[in-house]
Amino acid sequence: MKIHLLHVLLIGSLVLCTAVPTIAESLYVQPFKAKIFSKPAISSDILGTVESGFQFSSTGREGSWVKLVYKGKTGFVPSVQTAKTPPLGKAAAQSGEAGPKLGARARTSSSSAVVAGMKGLTYEDRARVTKGEHSDFGALDKVDALKISPEELKQFQLEGGKP
């Protein structure tokens, strides 16, 4: 009887130990656009460009490159541009475009109200809890207000590429 019990316990433990799930290496491309190279080198030919969120199963690694099969060919993506989870949504806590249109000060404190930890703290209270060190959220709002349009960026990049 005792032996049977031992038996059951052992099998039970075995099941417990081996039942731990193993996750297949499925990866997602992270940047807005990523190039797929024919070899693990930036200087190699480009097989194509994929967009953020492109999902693939890696077939191995070579140094800091992830190997994959792309359009029937072996391709490489730098592992720094990949992750095991899909790219995240745009951060919503930003002031600026995503946030409500309020005055500089109101916006500053409204964004801090989103911060879970700071809930209920007023703008003035914050100075107290952060060792009373001086912060300049007015200047930060000016920083947030500076935006680059896609056209400007495109133009800037076209002008570049010089020695």
């Binding site: 080198a41 879970a116 060792k131 800037f156």
Partner: protein, 305 residues
Amino acid sequence: MRVLKISSVLALWFVFQTLTCHASESKADDWRARASVADRDTYADSDTEEEVNFGREIAGRLLGQYKLSTNVKLQKYVNLVGATLTQNCSRPELDFHFIVVDSSEINAYSTPGGYVFITTAVLSRMSNEAELAGVLAHEIAHVTERHIVKELSLKGTEKSAASSIAAMIGGASKSAEIAFSQAVDKAVDILLRDGYKKEDEMQADATAVVLCAFSGYDPSGLVTFLDKIGKVKSGVGKTYPVYDVRLATLQRAMSDEGIADMKLALNTERFANAMKTDKKINLNPLDLANPIDMIRKVIPGGAHD
């Protein structure tokens, strides 16, 4: 008796299994970590939200210590170089901001959430856009690799029913408030006083050169710049690791990536022009009070409402 034999075999297998399976996860003390902490290495939207808010808090603190440069054209230029890089970075969910501050200290900082600071002293020692891109990419890498986020175990607050119940039982909200505030203090200490961990700096360097190469900048920019300031150690911010070691590691990383000999853009002339305008634009002191308006005046169509 047979049962006993089978049991013995099973027992041996069990021991073997338990000692060998999941061997890949065993770093120094990883075997203590339970399955429930698996979530701690993955990130959700709520974490990004918290990270950005956290970063804003630190950025506000840094702007309290460093004066935002009033050279709007330079701010714009640095942001254009930065945006060229962040297009290729691994965290499209973040809006990066590049901030030039007036300081004689040679340093650059980045906060979680994507606020990248660079001092005018650093800019004045650079010779081309590739060097600027190298330094910015290094700071971007600290953000994309979540060095501070990981160091401080920064996480978003969940809004799930389970977490509200937990908060009710534990009365945790006040503790969370204090923890947030303490984390801000610690992050500021890392940036201004203690510095990142050495391996974080090395990782940021390696990621930076790849990012530069992807964005069309000569990856040697970071190397030439570090070499330059390594030789002028006096005024250098104290948070950079020893330069010789760092440069050697960086060069090894570049040859590993096959980008050591790539000849890409330096944009020397454009950089010189951007730096030159620094002295040319003589700002009306009244405008200084509201740089947003100033941006509209100086660069038509440049700023968004």
